[in-house]
Amino acid sequence: MSLPTDDLVSPFTLEYTYKRSTGPVIGRFLAGLRDGQLLGVRTLTGDVLVPPTEYEPTTGDAVTDEFVEVGPEGTVSTWTWISNPGPKDPVSVPFAWAMVHLDGASTPMLHVVLSPEASLKTGARVRAKFAETRVGHIRDLAGFEVVT
């Protein structure tokens, strides 16, 4: 839609202008990613939350201090194919978002799957692919690839 010429237009940068600390649980997970490792945290009821949080989301209880290595393979529990990625998408070629239930985890996590559309299905087995340069960020995990 074209704007009438008498309208004022101004640039706007959408951002949250604060620094965050990652803390002992999220920080541990992100450090694990940097080291090429996928970690979950065990809850009081024995579940393994991946990615881990400092509390059990449905009860608010604190989690235990036991971290559990999960994956690197897992199962796609739901997915969507993005045929025309936009500038905000993490990859510039068509890709899938998926919830991936890593082996050993009780909950699935969101990330991308970098495999052809035809190989995607609910229940597909995938394997974690790490980025070559890792800094302790969720994108240290480049995504998952379908295991054939």
Partner: protein
Amino acid sequence: MRSISIAGIAQLPSKLAEHHMDAAELVQAVTALALADAGIERKQIGFVCSGSSDYIMGQPFSFVMALDGVGAWPPIRESHVEMDGAWALYEAWVRLQHGDIDTALVYSFGKSSVGNVDDALGMQLDPYYVAPLGVSPMALAALQARALLDARFANERDFAQAVMRARLAGARNPNIPTPTATTVDALLAAPWVASPLRAHDAAVRTDGAAAIVLRAGGPGPKITGFAHRIEPHALGVRDLTTSPSARRAADDAGASRIDVAEIHTPYASQETILRNALGLNDRMLVNPSGGTLVAETPMVAGLLRVVEATRAIRDGAHRALAHATSGPCLQHNLVCVLEST
């Protein structure tokens, strides 16, 4: 509970782009209409509460500047939620329960045309694990839609039929952009954007404003139940095929014997989930306004559902349900039940 009535309602037409009114002008216009509808003067209002989003309006504390439109001198008792106006209505309803004041003015405003709403909605995602991935609200809704298909709770034709129903009803709504006529087969022939969702499965985003005047006792539809419930932030711990929070909100609000329901569906696929969770069936009139698939003004869509439910009661319905949602994949849900007096 103190009995609270809807004394006045108003909305400005939902437009694809409102270039000529700023936030204060939207607020001035819509609150004046609501006060006139209630037959109440501004100085009689005991409490003012608004809902809007700075991220969407593109300016920090945009709601403070918008207060110019209400007339905040001499000083008024005022509050704001960085949420849809339906939650501002909830706060005002709770405030009136205190019993020391008898009236409240609630309004909300939003402009989808001034920025990228998807980017703004991305700010509410987990800042460590989800937001940095850059996932869009539509992609998240598509993950939910796929889960719905896999569970056989719906099929893609159901999504298209929800869009068709919205457009047919919306064609009779003078306050929204005229929906494009289509057929279910034509909709299903469109390509996926985020499979299994197509571009038309997303709500048409608009600019607009809505307002409601609440009064303790008195004439007008009575609020017989009002509740909101939220689910965990982490998507992985939720069952995306159902909406336990909408179900609990409906139970807590006493949502039974409903004639008309106005529900907030950011994506067509979510109608099935909400119909199940809210206990809606084919004997009820659902979204006579066309609903949010044909016009969704950010931060206004939920409050406007209460406005539409009030209109339904004024048109003869006995009990009407209004629903609002917030957060990815229907994370947070609110239900307000109105009854004719």
